[in-house]
């Protein structure tokens, strides 16, 4: 179980066509994911994280307003190019996804057990009864107490945390190689958040799946990630293993993000009020010239940062960064 990455995303771009013109939601994004690895994709809202995950699942609206280019090789097969029926078989099978909103992501008129069983039955050759058995096992696995009794409950009977466990059970039903978790804990309160993260870690250890964990919460990242991909304005701006990134961010944006997080989870110390990054996420229709982060960057040099667009360059064998001044700043 080593060697080639399980997922290899190359030059992924997503554009939306709107009244106001073309919107590049994701630009030229490339990353890899090794088996069993957890990659955290971090960024503020609007940075393109969720669009990336939906693009990989091919769940973006299938109309002419959306243009997706690039490659996403899942064990060598390009998710963006295979025919839809094949893709459908992969979805929920080899690659599955957990969404942000547990309150609305379950079908309100179908008992939860049936929803899990449906996923099981779709991808595995089981009859109804066996699928139901399997669903019960999965619900139990994700830590739903008295799982068998809750099979016939409707989603509205369950709490948010429980619903998210159901979602996870559904996602895991076919031992996926890759699980994309799109802010799975954001909508939950803190104690539940921790439980769900624990659960995910535990399940990952058991099944050896790779996880793409999308979040804006660096606290969560610290807890779960092996590697971190920081996105800003639809681009990857920094990519590094967890520890080096946290201890020595190269991109000023990453540094800003880290400063804006209560650091107790990270180092147990806390110093004064949290300095948020000034300014707002750029309007994707009017990206600033040069480095897209320069209007908010404390280190930006007029005439340089707003003139040439930086490229993503390798900082060392494990790290990449997109900044014109990273060497100066690191020094």
């Amino acid at each position: 179980m080593s060697g080639a990455p399980i997922l290899d995303v190359r030059n992924l771009s997503v554009r939306f066509r709107t009244e106001g013109g073309d919107v590049p939601a994701v630009s030229d994004l490339s990353f890899t994911l090794d088996r069993g690895e957890t990659l955290a994709v971090v960024g503020e809202s609007g940075s393109g994280k969720s669009v990336t995950s939906l693009a990989l699942m091919r769940l973006l609206p299938k109309d002419s307003a959306v243009t997706v280019t690039g490659q996403a090789l899942l064990e060598g097969r390009d998710l963006l190019a295979i025919p839809e029926p094949e893709m459908r078989k992969l979805r929920g099978g080899a690659i599955s996804m957990v969404f942000q909103e547990p309150m609305t992501s379950l079908n309100p008129t179908t008992p939860v057990g049936a929803q899990v069983a449906e996923a099981v039955q779709l991808h595995r050759d089981l009859d109804r009864r066996a699928a139901r058995e399997e669903a019960a096992r999965l619900l139990d696995l994700v830590g739903i107490p008295a799982a068998r009794q809750r099979m016939d409950d409707y989603p509205h009977h369950l709490s948010g945390g429980m619903r998210q466990r159901v979602m996870i059970a559904m996602a895991l039903s076919c031992d996926p190689g890759v699980l994309i978790a799109d802010e799975p804990t954001t909508a939950l309160d803190v104690t539940i958040q921790a439980q769900i993260l624990d659960l995910l870690k535990r399940l990952q250890e058991r099944t050896g799946m790779a996880v793409v964990f999308i979040t804006h919460n660096l606290g969560v990242v610290a807890e779960i990630a092996d590697r971190v991909l920081v996105m800003y304005g639809g681009r990857a701006v920094e990519q590094a293993p967890l520890r080096p990134l946290f201890s020595r961010p190269l991109m000023p944006y990453t540094a800003g993000l880290l400063r804006s997080v209560p650091r107790m989870e990270l180092a147990g110390r806390r110093a004064g009020p949290l300095p948020a990054i000034p300014g707002n996420v750029p309007d994707p229709r009017h990206m600033p010239p040069g480095c897209v982060f320069h209007p908010r960057c404390a280190h930006h040099q007029p005439g340089r940062c707003d003139a040439a667009a930086p490229v993503l360059e390798a900082a060392d064998e494990a790290r990449e960064v997109r900044c014109l001044r990273w060497r100066e700043l690191a020094a």
């Binding site: 009244e19 109309d63 307003a65 243009t67 280019t69």
Partner: protein, 283 residues
Amino acid sequence: MSLALSAPAFRRFRRHRLAAFGAATIVLLTLGCFLGPFLLPFDDTTIDVMNRFAPPLSGAHVLGTDELGRDMLARLMMGGRVSLIVGFTAMAIGMALGILVGAVAGFHGGWLGAALMRFVDAVLCFPTIFLLLALAALVSPGLLSIIILIAATSWMDVARIVEGQVKSLRERDFAVAAQVLGASDARIIVHELVPNAVAPIVVAATLNVARAILLESYVSFLGYGIQPPVPSWGNMLNNAQIYLTSAPWLAILPGLAITLAVTSFNFLGDGLRDALDPRMRAR
């Protein structure tokens, strides 16, 4: 996987194209009905018994003549005036009544509000046409009475909308804050509530014009409508019924006019709803 071609742009264009079509048609109809008769060599009430039932495009009368030899185009225009006047004034009165009742009920709440809203509920229990006919028995037919009749059957929805808005806004912080700061009720209504309620009201108003024009034709069809010799699209249609086989254009033309006008208002209302109601915008 690469998809091309515009969609949202086209989609919005299409959307607005229908609304624009509606608006343009309404403007044209209104202009035509109010200015057109001045340009025509014929009067809408001049009878010419020697020249009855002239088919369209057969002579001096572009759209032919009716059962009394009157010019159809002139009558359609004058009828359009009446129908549009009925549509707009009935809508305006209905709106005013609805807003008044809704605002009072929503603002004061309590037993008065409850009583008003129960009354609204009771009136809504009557199927519109039943209520309309029952009310029609009360008054002698005529332009004013038909306007009042239609207004009397189309204020309840607005009352409900306004009452709901007012009530929900009243409970919101800013209205409470404004009240604490000593703003008068009227000021609160004008500055805080009206802007919030205006979108659904505008939509309802547009759709109610369409409804009023349609109801006028129903009432006239059932014999309780505008009196001769004043034409309205409804009574023209009613009178044309017996000539359906011999002079079908007498029935077809006003029917088309009604359909066109009502469709236009409905398109416009639909477009306005899309534009004004953010919840509906996704459609």
